[in-house]
């Protein structure tokens, strides 16, 4: 399991501990290293269906550890265009590589500018330290 401290530059972050990577009109979304560490061993992932339309802050799906259940919220509005299928068989990828193989979904954003409003890596790091 990764150590729980990594905040990767170049990504955007929410206070609910999701990260977002802008790829043109699309946004790749996952949960942060801090979040996976807090969750402990992820043993179950419920992915949304492709084509699902989501509003900002709406529940995208669920990530469960042995002890807890956590919702994943969509940081932006748009449509789910890709889901990380391998997570269903190997949910531990979220613990091992939260920013790489552990990504959760890709959303085609209604308004790509929406991502600009999210925290930068430095801001997220500061928010973690203030807690």
């Amino acid at each position: 399991m990764s150590g729980g401290n990594e905040v990767r530059p170049g990504l955007k972050y929410t206070k609910e501990h999701e990260w977002l990577k802008v790829e043109g009109h699309n946004a790749r979304i996952g949960i942060t290293d801090h979040a996976q560490h807090a969750l402990t061993d992820v043993v179950f992932v419920e992915l949304p269906k492709k084509g699902k339309k989501v509003k900002t802050g709406e529940t995208l799906g669920v990530v469960e550890s042995v002890k807890s259940v956590s919702d994943i919220f969509s940081p932006v509005a748009g449509e789910v265009v890709e889901t990380n299928g391998p997570l269903e068989d190997d949910p531990g990828l979220i613990n091992q590589k939260p920013y790489d193989d552990g990504w959760y979904v890709v959303i085609k954003m209604n308004d790509p500018k929406e991502a600009d409003k999210l925290m930068t890596g430095d801001q997220y790091k500061a928010s973690l330290q203030s807690h």
Partner: protein, 352 residues
């Protein structure tokens, strides 16, 4: 509250949760890894949040016999017995272990936070004096297939002399100390009952001796998944709704050849149980949790009292109470996980 071993937990990097008013380690590195360590090597748990009570002298056995479904007079010196304290209506106040390390002394271990209730119950029903030593005692559970090999080195007592489900007086570990070959993980293992001040030293000795054997400090998270795979009931979960031992599948621990509080109610209930504890194994995707509804034929027939993903079986498992017509092994049911009906079946306990 904190157990005397808390400073060591903190040093070892434990993640803490509140459990029955105690700051207890839920895990050190990973619940799954700790679970696996206990199944394949060994793990050490601090279970000092559990209650510790002595009953001493010639009245002790009779007092225990009256207030518990076991016949304490049948517990030999060096014996142990799993039992429960019942209300007049036969429902479980608490389940506990009775240990008789020496001739006249009986040690009981009610659940965390239950010491006062159980002590008050015994005193008020029998007039017998009880000695609550919860805060002065550490219980260290050393569990797993490799525990036996290391016991001699860490305790100074030959493990060959401590047979399964027996206990021995262990004065070298401190005043009133004893060791029992019991546990709550389903693995071979030992529980060491020692004075509060000796706890940290013993855990350190176990970890040192077990370093190269894969022995790990374990938290309550692994303890819960381990006990659930074996179908062991947990107070506050399986007993929360006021059930009798017959409903909870503890029939074999009832000694019918003595009189005890709650016995008449159990006799009446024997003929027709309203509902019974069953195991539920989920075949669809999803993790069953405490509170999930069990559904058959579109109707809710019960609620899960515990549930988890079994680290060993890699499927969702749970315990819950259902009416008698649904208790047969293999009966198809659904478990409501969030808004989905996830296919499941009534399974044999233990799951493992």
């Amino acid at each position: 509250m904190r157990t005397p071993i808390y400073p060591l937990h903190a040093k070892l990097g434990a993640r803490f949760v509140d459990f029955a008013g105690y700051d207890m380690p839920v895990m050190f590195t990973s619940i799954l890894e700790e679970h696996e360590a206990v199944r394949n090597a060994a793990g050490v748990f601090d279970v000092s949040h559990m209650s510790n009570v002595w009953l001493r002298g010639p009245d002790a056995a009779a007092a225990l016999g009256k207030t518990m479904m076991c016949d304490a007079t049948k517990v030999p010196v060096g014996g142990t017995k799993y039992t429960a304290v019942l209300r007049d209506d036969g429902t479980i106040i608490d389940d506990l272990y009775v240990f008789r390390p020496t001739e006249k002394d009986y040690h009981i271990v009610p659940n965390a936070g239950m010491n006062k209730e159980v002590c008050d119950w015994i005193s008020s029903k029998t007039g017998t004096r009880v000695e609550d030593v919860t805060t002065e005692t550490c219980i260290i559970a050393f569990q797993g297939p490799k525990a036996k090999d290391m016991m001699g080195r860490v305790s100074g007592y030959d493990p060959a002399l401590i047979k399964p489900f027996r206990c021995v007086d262990a004065p070298r570990l401190g005043k009133g100390a004893f060791i029992s070959r019991t546990g709550y993980t389903g693995e071979d293992g030992f529980e060491l009952f020692v004075p509060a001040g000796s706890g940290i030293g013993i855990v350190e000795r176990i970890l040192e001796a077990g370093k190269s054997h894969g022995v790990r400090p374990c938290g309550l998270g692994a303890r819960d998944t381990l006990r659930l795979e074996k179908g062991y009931c947990l107070a506050g979960h399986e007993f929360a709704a006021g059930v009798t031992p017959l409903q909870a599948g503890l029939d074999r621990f009832v000694n019918w050849d003595h009189d005890f509080i709650g016995r008449k109610a159990l006799e009446r209930q024997k003929a027709a149980l309203p509902n019974r504890l069953v195991g539920v194994k989920v075949s669809g995707r999803g993790i069953p949790r405490q509170g999930c509804k069990i559904v058959a034929g579109g109707k809710v027939i019960g609620t899960l009292t515990s549930g988890t993903m079994s680290p060993t079986l890699k499927v969702g498992i749970g315990l819950g109470y259902v009416p008698p017509q649904h208790t047969a092994r293999g009966t198809k049911v659904d478990v409501m996980i969030r808004d989905s009906a996830v296919p499941a079946e009534i399974a044999e306990i233990p799951f493992l």
